[in-house]
């Protein structure tokens, strides 16, 4: 057991969806309660916590600070840090907890991700913020879908990719989500249905895009050397996070080709090196990747080294990333089906990979899963996180 590792010893995750029944604090309390119960710990045993929420302003200013975790759970009197790094926010919470454990600053750490977006209509949450706030001139009128649509357009132009390839990602992930009781959508879709959906930002259609979703997830982490005391610990074998571009740079510097995300490549290189992953397609059994839009899953195949450049679509159609394939990608249904409560997503992925590596994923179980990763892309592809998890024994 390498000395510089931490282990996941408890996980919790709310049902994702339009949670009109639950406010921000309700979601936090539910996820944290479940994670502590899974670890068999009383809340007083937690001695530091990280709270990831990307867009507190989408709701009632919950998630601006660590106090919103304390108030929801009754965990008072310890350091709680609110973190934010766009869609890698949840991974940032896990990373903060892990590094504090390794530094010896705490012994039991809690990492929580939560986002409450549906106290407003979808057009007024993240889309509304991008339209009303931010720079008054620069990129005005551009939404998240649009920023990834220009990547899709270049893949169409350079690589001969088509809307059919995008749609097949959505078909795969929606089919896999049928077996995930926590997913926002659990209904299979046909290729025709996906392709017939209205366009959001050409060539991205409505069913190529993740929905607006509420949810929270939490994990309890300890140093690997302490994990033997808990039931079914899973080791965090690699943590990579990289900020490799900016909000404006890709759209104002002709050096950007819109074919891949350098941030994913940088984060993966770091995480793979720590985890000893040499051939990702051989060494990984499953991957939860950031399919906020179907094009991003395809691009990520290449960035994570699951296939060579230009071969993403053929990898998809070969079935290698589907259930029963070499590396099951988004066996949970991904963001396309689970939804994307931004701060919660990476923590939800850690929950999913942990569940798989514990062999407790029910009908979604990847046979003999030993290693899996969680990947997120933040901002317009500028930030990425890669967490590699490994079963024990």
């Amino acid at each position: 057991m390498p000395a510089d590792r931490v282990s996941v010893v408890g996980v919790g995750c709310t049902r994702f969806g339009e949670r009109f029944d639950a406010g921000y604090s309700d979601l936090v309390a539910e996820a944290v309660g479940e994670a502590l119960a899974d670890a068999g710990l009383d809340r007083r045993r937690v001695d530091a916590a990280w709270l990831g929420t990307a867009f507190p302003d989408a709701g009632v200013w919950k998630g601006r600070s660590g106090m919103d975790l304390a108030e929801a759970t009754g965990i008072f009197g310890i350091p709680i840090t609110r973190v934010s790094n766009y869609c890698a926010t949840g991974a940032e919470a896990v990373r903060g907890a892990a590094h504090a454990l390794l530094a010896g600053a705490c012994d039991v750490a809690l990492a929580v991700g939560v986002e409450k977006l549906r106290d407003r209509p979808p057009q007024e949450s993240i889309v509304g913020m991008m339209l009303h706030d931010g720079h008054p001139v620069r990129q005005k009128g551009f939404t998240a879908a649009g920023t990834f649509a220009v990547y899709a357009r270049r893949h169409f132009h350079e690589r001969g990719m088509t809307r059919r390839d995008l749609a097949q990602v959505s078909v795969k992930n929606h089919r896999l989500a049928v077996d995930n009781p926590l997913a926002h959508f659990r209904k299979p879709l046909s290729l025709e249905e996906v392709m017939a959906a209205p366009l959001v930002a050409d060539p991205i259609g409505l069913l190529d895009a993740c929905p607006t979703t509420d949810g929270a997830a939490a994990v309890v982490l300890v140093r690997a050397e302490d994990a033997g005391r808990y039931s079914a610990p899973v080791d965090v074998a690699g943590i990579g996070l990289s900020v490799s571009s900016g909000w404006d740079l890709p759209f104002f510097d002709p050096g950007h080709a819109f074919l891949g995300f350098q941030a994913t490549r940088d984060a993966a290189a770091r995480a793979y090196s720590q985890a000893g992953i040499v051939d990702p397609r051989q060494d990984l059994d499953l991957a939860e990747v950031h399919d906020c839009f179907s094009i991003v899953e395809l691009i990520t195949y290449e960035d994570l080294g699951l296939c060579a450049e230009g071969e993403a679509a053929s990898l998809l159609w070969s079935g290698a990333t589907d259930r029963g394939g070499d590396v099951v990608v988004n066996g949970s249904g991904g963001l396309l089906s689970c939804g994307h409560p931004v701060g919660a997503t990476a923590v939800r992925m850690v929950h999913e990979v942990t569940t798989q590596l514990r062999g407790r994923a029910g009908r979604r179980q990847v046979e003999g899963a030993r290693r899996g990763l969680a990947h997120n892309i933040g901002g317009p592809g500028a930030i990425a996180s890669v967490l590699v998890l490994e079963a024990r024994g």
Binding site: Q123, V127, L131, H132, D133, G134, H135, P136, V137, R138, Q139, K140, G141, F142, T143, A145, G146, A149, V150, Y151, R153, R154, H157, P198, L199, V200, A201, D202, P203, I204, G246, D248, L249, F251, F252, D253, P254, G255, H256, F258
Partner: protein, 482 residues
Amino acid sequence: MSTAPVGISAWGVAVPRRRLDNGVLARAWGRPPSPGVRAVPGPDEDSLTLGVEAALGALDRWEAASGTASSGRAAVGAVLLATTTPSLAEGSLAGLLAEVCRLPETVRTVDLGHSGRGGLTALALAADLAPSVGPVLVVAADTRRAAPGSDLEPLVGAGAAACVVESGDGVGWALVRRAGRASPLAPSWRLAGEKHAQWADLRFGRTVLYGEAVDAVLGVLLEGVDGERLAGIALQAPDPGSGVRALARAGLDPRRHYRDHVSPKTGDTGCAHPLLMAAAAAERLETGALLAVLAAADGVEAVLLECRRPTPAGAARALARSLPLESVVRALDLAGEVAGRPADPLGFRSEVLDWRERGPTWRLVGTRCAACDATFALAPRACQRCGGATDDRPLARAGTVFSWTREHYVPTPEPPGGMVVVDLDGGGRLTVPLADPEGEPEVGDRVELVLRRLHEIAGRPGYAWKARPASAGGEGGSADAR
């Protein structure tokens, strides 16, 4: 002692691409058909944006012709902007126009308002100013509107014209004579705060306010002029018949002399119209030709121009490029006449930011890395590739679409709103909204940058660059824009 001629060295024009056929209008209102087509401003066009487009066309052609690309603009001593339809009632638009055109900070900026003959008045004033302050940029722009269904509606349009006026032997069209006549009344007017122009008593307006004034001024302007050298008269008229009759009364042959290549394609563009007609006429004429230009509104302003060298204006091309509007409802919606349509979103707006970022936002000045030559359309203080020091670099206004999308869920007057990633000629990349869309863009499409209204927040128009499908190549215009 011979004094250097004063006159026009370069022309520029702007005509909204959206056009509404008067036949469509007549069918909608159940009225007898009237001939012609009107130029209708898009939801993001106004007098300033049209004026900027015309001004940039004139400055580009001026610098290209005189080979002073680097110093041309820096020598401009004054800019005169005439409009009766300004987007600000208080606050200089000429100052913003000067900024966008990269004129020097020392330039005198003058805003001329109210008068329908303001464009030609500005030209006459510029001729007085040029010998003392140096080259003067004259810009006239209007977006005239009349009440839906009114008699005036088929006659009013939108457009802009600009010219560079200087003294020296290099001028293209020398200003050889002027005449004018003041009037306390105008044939048409618009009340403060109103959108729609109105007409006075029609026959009184045509015969007295227009006809008698034009007759008097034409007599002075053309006295002793050799009829053979008079190539044409660009005469603003409240309706096509009035102009023709005025020439006939002056003893001229309207078929030979009446030079109106513009009105049937734009409608009357207000204070821009005489200069627009003059530019369209001038670009067809040769050295030695005489061109009379008359603005007739509240009184008459007139100049006689003599061609010393042919000067292109890009008018024929601007008039030809059109996006026909198929319905009056669409046209009214674009004009903001349809109630209940979503207004511009509220949003963050900051004068501080407008000021600090005026380089990249308005002057279109980016930065270039001295070490690795990377060009950024933003203004980073250090190169974002190699960390080297950067200096200012003016960006081109022409480029190629690298990628694009259309945002179907973003509220806009003309959904879906296009966004294009444009790689600019000579370096730099911009990601901006697509203006005047003509169907789906394609990777590799040529586009040109145009200043447009991006939004209106708290009552203030926000101006920024957008990209639109490029005008056809060839003379002047955008192909040589820098």
